[in-house]
Symmetry: C2
Subunit: 97 residues, 2 copies
Protein backbone atom coordinates (compact mmCIF):
# COMPACT_ATOMS: atom_id res chain seq x y z
CA UNK A 1 0.00 0.00 0.00
CA UNK A 2 1.59 3.22 -1.13
CA UNK A 3 1.92 6.32 1.01
CA UNK A 4 -0.36 8.12 -1.48
CA UNK A 5 -3.22 5.71 -0.71
CA UNK A 6 -2.66 5.81 3.06
CA UNK A 7 -2.77 9.59 2.88
CA UNK A 8 -6.06 9.61 0.93
CA UNK A 9 -7.60 7.05 3.28
CA UNK A 10 -6.72 9.17 6.29
CA UNK A 11 -8.28 12.18 4.61
CA UNK A 12 -11.54 10.38 3.81
CA UNK A 13 -11.83 8.83 7.26
CA UNK A 14 -11.82 12.38 8.63
CA UNK A 15 -14.87 13.32 6.57
CA UNK A 16 -18.38 13.40 8.02
CA UNK A 17 -21.00 10.65 7.54
CA UNK A 18 -18.60 8.10 6.04
CA UNK A 19 -20.24 4.66 5.82
CA UNK A 20 -17.30 2.80 4.28
CA UNK A 21 -14.09 3.08 2.28
CA UNK A 22 -12.75 0.42 -0.08
CA UNK A 23 -9.47 0.48 -1.99
CA UNK A 24 -9.62 -1.65 -5.13
CA UNK A 25 -6.93 -2.59 -7.65
CA UNK A 26 -7.58 -2.62 -11.39
CA UNK A 27 -8.25 -6.35 -11.36
CA UNK A 28 -11.32 -5.51 -9.24
CA UNK A 29 -9.84 -6.93 -6.02
CA UNK A 30 -10.50 -5.09 -2.73
CA UNK A 31 -7.08 -4.62 -1.12
CA UNK A 32 -8.21 -2.54 1.86
CA UNK A 33 -11.67 -1.92 3.27
CA UNK A 34 -13.62 -0.73 6.29
CA UNK A 35 -16.61 -2.91 5.27
CA UNK A 36 -16.98 -6.66 5.88
CA UNK A 37 -15.52 -9.08 3.35
CA UNK A 38 -18.77 -9.90 1.49
CA UNK A 39 -19.69 -6.25 1.00
CA UNK A 40 -16.15 -5.32 0.02
CA UNK A 41 -15.94 -8.00 -2.67
CA UNK A 42 -19.38 -7.01 -4.01
CA UNK A 43 -18.61 -3.27 -4.17
CA UNK A 44 -15.13 -3.85 -5.58
CA UNK A 45 -16.43 -5.97 -8.45
CA UNK A 46 -19.38 -3.74 -9.37
CA UNK A 47 -17.59 -0.42 -9.01
CA UNK A 48 -14.67 -1.79 -11.00
CA UNK A 49 -17.08 -2.43 -13.89
CA UNK A 50 -18.58 1.03 -13.57
CA UNK A 51 -15.17 2.75 -13.42
CA UNK A 52 -14.04 0.95 -16.57
CA UNK A 53 -17.29 1.89 -18.33
CA UNK A 54 -16.94 5.56 -17.30
CA UNK A 55 -13.32 5.68 -18.49
CA UNK A 56 -14.32 4.12 -21.81
CA UNK A 57 -17.27 6.48 -22.34
CA UNK A 58 -15.19 9.60 -21.62
CA UNK A 59 -12.42 8.33 -23.90
CA UNK A 60 -14.87 7.49 -26.70
CA UNK A 61 -16.43 10.95 -26.52
CA UNK A 62 -13.03 12.66 -26.75
CA UNK A 63 -9.78 10.69 -26.80
CA UNK A 64 -7.85 13.65 -25.31
CA UNK A 65 -10.15 13.89 -22.28
CA UNK A 66 -9.85 11.76 -19.14
CA UNK A 67 -12.18 10.51 -16.42
CA UNK A 68 -11.09 11.99 -13.06
CA UNK A 69 -13.74 11.07 -10.50
CA UNK A 70 -17.41 10.27 -10.02
CA UNK A 71 -20.05 10.94 -7.37
CA UNK A 72 -23.29 9.01 -7.53
CA UNK A 73 -26.38 9.68 -5.50
CA UNK A 74 -28.63 6.83 -4.57
CA UNK A 75 -31.70 6.66 -2.36
CA UNK A 76 -29.63 5.53 0.64
CA UNK A 77 -26.22 7.16 0.28
CA UNK A 78 -23.66 8.70 -2.03
CA UNK A 79 -20.88 6.76 -3.68
CA UNK A 80 -17.64 8.45 -4.69
CA UNK A 81 -15.19 6.82 -7.08
CA UNK A 82 -11.66 8.15 -7.34
CA UNK A 83 -9.26 6.42 -9.72
CA UNK A 84 -5.55 6.72 -8.87
CA UNK A 85 -2.67 5.22 -10.83
CA UNK A 86 -2.68 1.69 -9.42
CA UNK A 87 -5.89 1.62 -7.35
CA UNK A 88 -9.25 3.28 -7.17
CA UNK A 89 -11.01 4.32 -4.01
CA UNK A 90 -14.71 3.87 -3.27
CA UNK A 91 -16.18 6.06 -0.54
CA UNK A 92 -19.73 5.48 0.72
CA UNK A 93 -21.15 8.51 2.47
CA UNK A 94 -24.55 9.28 3.93
CA UNK A 95 -26.00 12.28 2.12
CA UNK A 96 -25.53 15.49 4.08
CA UNK A 97 -28.69 17.14 5.37
CA UNK B 1 -41.84 17.57 -23.82
CA UNK B 2 -43.37 17.65 -20.38
CA UNK B 3 -43.58 20.73 -18.19
CA UNK B 4 -41.29 18.97 -15.70
CA UNK B 5 -38.49 18.78 -18.29
CA UNK B 6 -38.99 22.36 -19.45
CA UNK B 7 -38.78 23.48 -15.86
CA UNK B 8 -35.53 21.57 -15.24
CA UNK B 9 -34.00 22.86 -18.46
CA UNK B 10 -34.76 26.44 -17.48
CA UNK B 11 -33.17 25.84 -14.09
CA UNK B 12 -29.96 24.39 -15.57
CA UNK B 13 -29.66 27.10 -18.21
CA UNK B 14 -29.55 29.61 -15.37
CA UNK B 15 -26.52 27.90 -13.80
CA UNK B 16 -22.99 29.21 -14.28
CA UNK B 17 -20.45 27.74 -16.74
CA UNK B 18 -22.93 25.53 -18.59
CA UNK B 19 -21.39 24.12 -21.79
CA UNK B 20 -24.39 22.14 -22.95
CA UNK B 21 -27.62 20.43 -21.97
CA UNK B 22 -29.08 17.35 -23.65
CA UNK B 23 -32.40 15.63 -22.89
CA UNK B 24 -32.35 11.96 -23.85
CA UNK B 25 -35.10 9.35 -23.83
CA UNK B 26 -34.54 5.80 -22.60
CA UNK B 27 -33.96 4.56 -26.15
CA UNK B 28 -30.83 6.75 -26.13
CA UNK B 29 -32.30 9.34 -28.53
CA UNK B 30 -31.52 13.04 -27.91
CA UNK B 31 -34.90 14.80 -27.94
CA UNK B 32 -33.68 18.27 -27.02
CA UNK B 33 -30.17 19.73 -26.96
CA UNK B 34 -28.14 22.92 -26.89
CA UNK B 35 -25.22 21.15 -28.65
CA UNK B 36 -24.94 20.46 -32.39
CA UNK B 37 -26.51 17.31 -33.79
CA UNK B 38 -23.32 15.20 -34.01
CA UNK B 39 -22.31 15.94 -30.43
CA UNK B 40 -25.84 15.42 -29.15
CA UNK B 41 -26.16 11.98 -30.76
CA UNK B 42 -22.73 10.98 -29.43
CA UNK B 43 -23.40 12.09 -25.85
CA UNK B 44 -26.92 10.65 -25.86
CA UNK B 45 -25.72 7.21 -26.91
CA UNK B 46 -22.74 7.03 -24.55
CA UNK B 47 -24.44 8.52 -21.52
CA UNK B 48 -27.42 6.25 -22.09
CA UNK B 49 -25.08 3.26 -21.76
CA UNK B 50 -23.49 4.70 -18.63
CA UNK B 51 -26.84 5.50 -17.01
CA UNK B 52 -28.07 1.96 -17.61
CA UNK B 53 -24.84 0.54 -16.20
CA UNK B 54 -25.07 2.75 -13.09
CA UNK B 55 -28.71 1.76 -12.50
CA UNK B 56 -27.82 -1.91 -12.89
CA UNK B 57 -24.83 -1.69 -10.53
CA UNK B 58 -26.80 0.09 -7.80
CA UNK B 59 -29.65 -2.42 -8.17
CA UNK B 60 -27.26 -5.39 -8.08
CA UNK B 61 -25.62 -4.09 -4.90
CA UNK B 62 -28.97 -3.66 -3.15
CA UNK B 63 -32.28 -4.26 -4.92
CA UNK B 64 -34.09 -1.82 -2.61
CA UNK B 65 -31.72 1.05 -3.44
CA UNK B 66 -32.03 3.29 -6.51
CA UNK B 67 -29.67 5.37 -8.63
CA UNK B 68 -30.66 9.05 -8.35
CA UNK B 69 -27.99 11.08 -10.14
CA UNK B 70 -24.34 11.17 -11.12
CA UNK B 71 -21.65 13.81 -11.43
CA UNK B 72 -18.46 12.93 -13.26
CA UNK B 73 -15.33 14.99 -13.36
CA UNK B 74 -13.12 14.86 -16.41
CA UNK B 75 -10.02 16.81 -17.37
CA UNK B 76 -12.05 19.32 -19.42
CA UNK B 77 -15.43 19.59 -17.69
CA UNK B 78 -17.99 18.02 -15.40
CA UNK B 79 -20.86 15.87 -16.62
CA UNK B 80 -24.07 15.57 -14.63
CA UNK B 81 -26.60 12.84 -15.31
CA UNK B 82 -30.11 13.12 -13.91
CA UNK B 83 -32.61 10.38 -14.68
CA UNK B 84 -36.28 11.36 -14.63
CA UNK B 85 -39.22 9.10 -15.32
CA UNK B 86 -39.28 9.22 -19.12
CA UNK B 87 -36.05 11.07 -19.93
CA UNK B 88 -32.66 11.72 -18.50
CA UNK B 89 -30.80 15.00 -18.62
CA UNK B 90 -27.09 15.42 -19.36
CA UNK B 91 -25.52 18.70 -18.25
CA UNK B 92 -21.96 19.61 -19.28
CA UNK B 93 -20.43 22.24 -17.04
CA UNK B 94 -16.99 23.79 -16.87
CA UNK B 95 -15.49 23.05 -13.48
CA UNK B 96 -15.87 25.92 -11.05
CA UNK B 97 -12.68 27.63 -9.90
Amino acid sequence: MSAEVEEMLKRFMGMKNIVGIIVVDYDGIAIKSTLDNTQSVLYAAHMHLLTEKARQVIFDLDATNEFTSMRMRTTYFEIMLMPLEHFFIIVLQNACD
